[in-house]
Symmetry: C2
Subunit: 546 residues, 2 copies
């Protein structure tokens, strides 16, 4: 290992070649991106208003309302009002049309892609209330959609027909925190960012971070097994969640809020709820292992000439940065250019490159981390793996660089409809899907610069550290011809490479019928068994998942 | 942050106060400890021979053979011989008494505590064979005990009556390894140490390490959700295992060997198999995320005056060592003295202390890690948290220091029978259980220096980083009076503090009846539901678990 002084001449050279332009990038687009995930329906960012959103029942005419489910009556409403108290408890009911506007944010997703016909939203304030609600619904065959921050991408948290929405926003208290072990116990309805702020004050960090943190609920994160930006460093929720409190459709409380790291006493049933998308019960509380908040953070941003070089840079980052590598994100020039067009911000690098990578380190010692990062930079620059790059030198610059990555989804939404595919693919072929899709759409004559072409661009970005690609087809307007060219092509392509058609956003209604591209008939059969075991009446989040 | 040069005078001072005695400690006890976990029954280390081990059926007279199960007939044996081939496939059968010795290692656990009456051991060579075996057993009501390295502590991997042993040792091949992602796919019967050696050659490490690594199987590790020495750093198997291949009792193959980090397509059923102890199916293969092998490793060993100081040292270690802290182990002076008595090695510290801690760092940069460790040492020495300590300066010394921790279980076994409790307790009360137990046994007049007292000593050690205590009551011989004083006292004590009666070794037969001290009736009911769902005939590892 070379000493620090021996590295200095090289580092100066690296720095010369990497102008610190990031200071000039506004952080605005990051905060806009976060606002856009609001569940209040107030986001208008170039989109139609709530009322013009097409009903899911119209977009999916093949889905019929299950006639076994009861319709909500005044008697039902009376039961819920008696249980929860009128006012905040029952947000809206069939008996009161005056406040119909208030119910719509719970009926519609933030992308304005899915819209239900729900007439009753319940906001329980305790696990016992959730238990009584579900038991009553189960006994009376009333279908239920559990809803957290309503920030999903697959329509999982909004109703299709007249299901009752069980909104968890009133259960938003931290129950317990152990300053020595870092174990947090909290209600499901705590907003992720609020949980992280609470932890930050105590020197800890929530082991999950994602763009929707300002709106999404930690219970919803667990129900959807959210992955996010730093899975590479902190691991998955299956490893970090130590306990769950949940309610089954028959009202049984799954009281498994264990607070220690090790507990080998029987089947780890809580794992079934992680990623179950509200189909077997409602998560009301979680306990989670939180790591110490890193004292030092660094972000570097590169331009690269090929995806092969992105892979080389990733391998070098793993080797040099090892335990402090907390994110390795990739985006192509199409994605980058889009953000630039929408935000009007100056690009962080002077020239354009086919690919860009963002590398983040999180560690406990600023000097050590900088030294490791600089050794990495020196290596990738000297080997010609990276064409150009910039290093953030303070928190504002870190946020600015992240905005180029986090702002992509928002920028895409600004242009019109987006076909989004969040998929896992073995790393070496990860970007090939974007190229193959682009060719396919071009060959179908659907991509072009003028209004006659529905498709504006095909872009790729994602969490390279997790082999997780976001393939996005940006359109001027949703068009059935585009959909036909994309599906099942994309799913078949992934299945041939043993990838996953849903890396982190789940199945919901969007991917329900495509699960067979990732899971075998055996596995699907076993999953249906579990659904039937816990929810024999099928009242939990119907028409979705499997 | 002080610069490196500013720290130097203090570090020299720290070094002076910490004599590097570890070089003088023989590594012998570590290798002995590992040998002791052999499944061949060849370990005699002060113990009775296999044939004198009492049958579990005699020790647990309340357990009766389930009359629904068939007895193995010549026709059954013929089926298995036709399927597997005679010779290595069917190790021993009812029709051949000549080789009866060969079957005994599969009938008895390494502690010589549990012994079954099994007459047929099957060693399948493929997942398809496992499927055919289980389907046949299920159709013919033949009970089955899946067996890996047979290194457990709770009697989970040996039969009670005449169950057929399904030994996985022939399925021992690495199937695939991805050098970029670090994902290993391997048969369940690969020995942990062999998997780790394979990975070491490629710059990776298996994310689990434990004393029995030379014998235990990775499939068994997953089936028992093993925790081990470095869970603190690499996290649990629930987070690291990406996929599982398993066979259900009806022969269904759970083909879920996914190889990427993210896959949100339906219920994560593989999680049910992690920690299921062979009660719902047999794991035949796993895919697992392996981290990069650390380039630098350091070990420090301290003497401390109180358990309060152990906690302070742990808090300081988390703060100073953060991402490189890979183990924080605690042992009391009784445990330490015992190892010294059995091995005859010179203690690593000159004086005796009530407590000792072993701190390990694993990182990618030796200079950085040493600097962090020294800042930590400086802090705990200056604050008077640590009374004395020594730092290993090479791999031999690292192994020597670890031998003082890893050799405890072996040393205990050398003296006679040991009542072992592997439990999770909130950190601040963790050691109190040892003290309360010692008082209770003393008050019962069972502890003393001469032969008339059954108990030699009550010792405590464990994984402090995971709140995981190993309470061990060392006896001259097993004695029902001791057992009555210990149980259910220990379990009640843990239940009152919401700990776990089994932190990592599982339930097996030893803790089956005590699960209610950690799990609620609701949870136990839900677990029984799962058992019934997957194994309606109850043929898988009967008489155990729940």
């Amino acid at each position: 290992m070379a000493s620090r002084s021996a590295l200095m001449p090289v580092l100066r050279c690296v720095r010369r070649r990497m102008p610190a332009l990031s200071a000039r990038i506004s952080v605005q687009s990051a905060s806009v991106a976060r606002r856009s995930f609001s569940s209040t329906g107030s986001t208008s960012f170039g989109r139609s208003s709530v009322c013009s959103v097409q009903y899911t029942s119209e977009n999916y005419p093949e889905i019929q309302r299950d006639p076994r489910f009861s319709k909500v009556t005044e008697e039902h409403v009376q039961f819920f009002q008696d249980l929860l108290g009128s006012g905040s408890a029952v947000l809206e009911s069939v008996t009161n049309d005056a406040g119909a506007d208030d119910i719509e944010p719970c009926n519609t997703d933030w992308m304005k892609k899915y819209r239900g016909h729900c007439k009753l939203v319940l906001k329980p304030g305790s696990t016992e209330q959730v238990s009584k609600i579900l038991k009553y619904c189960n006994d009376n065959m009333l279908a239920v959609v559990p809803q957290g921050g309503n920030t999903g991408l697959v329509g999982g948290s909004v109703p299709v027909f007249d299901e009752i929405v069980l909104n968890m926003s009133r259960m938003n208290q931290v129950r317990d925190f152990d300053e020595v072990s870092g174990v947090l116990v909290a209600d499901a309805g705590v907003i992720l960012e609020a949980a992280d702020h609470y932890l930050a004050e105590r020197g800890y960090i929530f082991p999950l971070d994602l763009g929707a943190k300002g709106s999404c609920h930690i219970g919803g994160n667990v129900a959807c097994n959210a992955g996010g930006l730093r899975l590479l460093r902190y691991g998955s929720l299956h490893g970090n969640v130590l306990g769950i409190e949940a309610v089954l459709p028959d009202g049984t409380i799954v009281d498994d809020l264990f607070k220690l790291r090790k507990n080998n006493t029987g089947y780890d049933l809580k794992q079934l709820f992680i990623g179950s998308e509200g189909t077997i019960g409602v998560i009301t509380g979680i306990s989670i292992q939180c790591p110490q908040r890193p004292k030092a953070q660094n972000v570097a941003f590169f331009g690269l000439e090929s995806f092969e070089q992105c892979q080389q840079a990733f391998r070098n980052a793993k080797s040099h940065l090892s335990e402090i590598l907390s994110a390795f994100e990739m985006m192509d020039n199409s994605a980058h250019t889009l953000v630039q067009r929408v935000t009007g911000n100056k690009r962080p690098l002077e020239s354009e490159y086919p690919f860009y990578c963002l590398v983040e380190t999180s560690g406990s010692n600023s000097d050590h981390d900088s030294e490791k990062l600089q050794a990495f930079l020196e290596d990738v620059m000297e080997q010609g793996i990276v064409a150009d790059g910039t290093l953030a030198e303070n928190e504002t610059q870190i946020n600015s660089l992240w905005a180029w990555r986090e702002g992509i989804a928002e920028a895409l939404g600004h242009l019109g409809g987006v076909y989004k595919y969040d998929v896992s693919i073995p790393l070496k072929e990860m970007y090939q899907l974007v190229e193959d899709t682009r060719i396919r759409i071009k060959e179908a004559g659907l991509l072009g610069d003028s209004e006659e072409f529905p498709v504006i661009d095909v872009v790729g970005y994602g969490h390279m550290g997790d082999s997780n690609l976001h393939l996005n087809v940006s359109t001027r307007h949703f068009d059935k011809r585009v959909e036909k060219v994309l599906e099942p092509f994309v799913y078949q392509w992934i299945a041939e490479r043993q990838g996953s058609i849903s890396a982190e956003h789940g199945l919901g209604i969007a991917k329900k019928k495509y699960i067979g591209y990732t899971r075998s008939d055996n596995m699907i059969g076993l999953m249906k068994q579990i659904k039937k075991l816990y929810d024999p009446n099928g009242i939990m989040n119907p028409y979705k998942y499997i």
